[in-house]
Homo-oligomer: 194 residues x 2
DNA sequence: TCTGCCATGTAAGCCGTTACATGATTTT
DNA sequence: AAAATCATGTAACGGCTTACATGGCAGA
């Protein structure tokens, strides 16, 4: 099974709700997700092409979609059954790199389509990734404090603070997720915690 | 005058303090600056080579640096006069893209070598860059609120918060910088501590 | 001795942007 | 009628990582 890159996953998720054409996909990726602030067509169209070739989506021109008439040259993309299946598989796994900086945002934005256990695994995976980062940054800060000027120190202090806040955010989300799960179903004592 | 990329600038700044060999440069870039968390040798060595070719730095093998004897195959890089000049020029300008995400950190880490007026211009440039981002993110949040689920909204809310904090941080720094300039006299507020 | 870190470098490939090329539709 | 925006695509190029290739030095 070919693995799905972040961009493809994002597109899959986007098309799951409704067929869209390339131009719209780009705009939505830019406004709805963090990572693709301004994805270029030079990336998008080839990606769509690859996905068509892989049988995940189909391309169909929509002529005269509206009363007026013409409206040539617009291509709507929609998921195939394989595409739906691939998306479902992806959403069911917290595997590989769902907690990379970019991938995390994309996964998170699809949390309503993700089951609770997987959501929790992703949040925790992300948390422990950040915890590692926290340690590194912290060590860096110590070293910098000894050997460097106030500005450099401040830069690192601020970097540390940023990561700390991120962890706090995740802690809140994890807590929410846990209490929602407990609520749904009385006797849930989910497995290993941090 | 050839323009200096971020990596070269960081190296220039690093070598301004003392000669270093490539391996050390890499480690320091990783621990002292944000943007180069784990710069690969595949990027570093070619960059050093380019800089030697451009006459900004020189490479010299250090044999028997220490009592023991041998210690072959270490190459120390140090700034040439041209390199020093280039660094000075770069540090005097707040031009081009000193407020890009990556470049900003590098410029900031050299603030002690930067004059007060330039520091202020960079901080303000960065601030207004973030202010633009703030607006975009804010608009995105509104749109998402109307059309999307709670998770997606939360993702955007958190993204907004992050940028807001960044702006607040800059505001504090700008304020400090201003009061330091006003008071070459009494009430100097040095760069922030914890 | 063998493992792990120090140290330098090259080649291939990935992933993305920029610039280019084209044309339709909508708004002013 | 012009300008802005919608819409699709390709080709060239850039920068960075990965994988490879090589070898010295230190301590277990």
């Amino acid at each position: 099974m070919a693995k799905t890159d972040v961009l493809s996953l994002a597109i899959l998720g986007m098309l799951a709700e409704q067929p869209l054409h390339g131009y719209q996909i780009r705009k939505r990726l830019g406004s709805e997700l963090g990572p693709f602030r301004a994805l270029s067509y030079g990336s998008l169209y080839p990606a769509l092409k690859r996905m068509v070739a892989a049988g995940l989506i189909t391309a169909s021109a929509d002529y005269e979609a509206r009363p007026g008439g013409s409206r040539r040259s617009r291509i709507s993309y929609r998921l195939t059954e394989d595409g739906e299946q691939r998306l479902a598989d992806e959403l069911a796994s917290a595997g590989a790199s769902s907690w990379d900086d970019d991938a995390f945002d994309v996964r998170f934005s699809m949390f309503t389509k993700t089951d609770s256990a997987t959501r929790l695994r992703i949040l925790e995976g992300r948390r422990s990734r950040l915890a590692e980062r926290l340690e590194e940054v912290n060590e860096g800060l110590q070293r910098v404090r000894e050997r460097h000027d106030a500005y450099t120190t401040e830069l690192h202090r601020h970097g540390l603070e940023r990561v700390e806040r991120e962890v706090e955010w995740l802690d809140r989300l994890i807590e929410n997720e846990r209490s929602a799960t407990r609520g749904d179903n009385p006797s849930t004592a989910s497995a290993g915690n941090n």
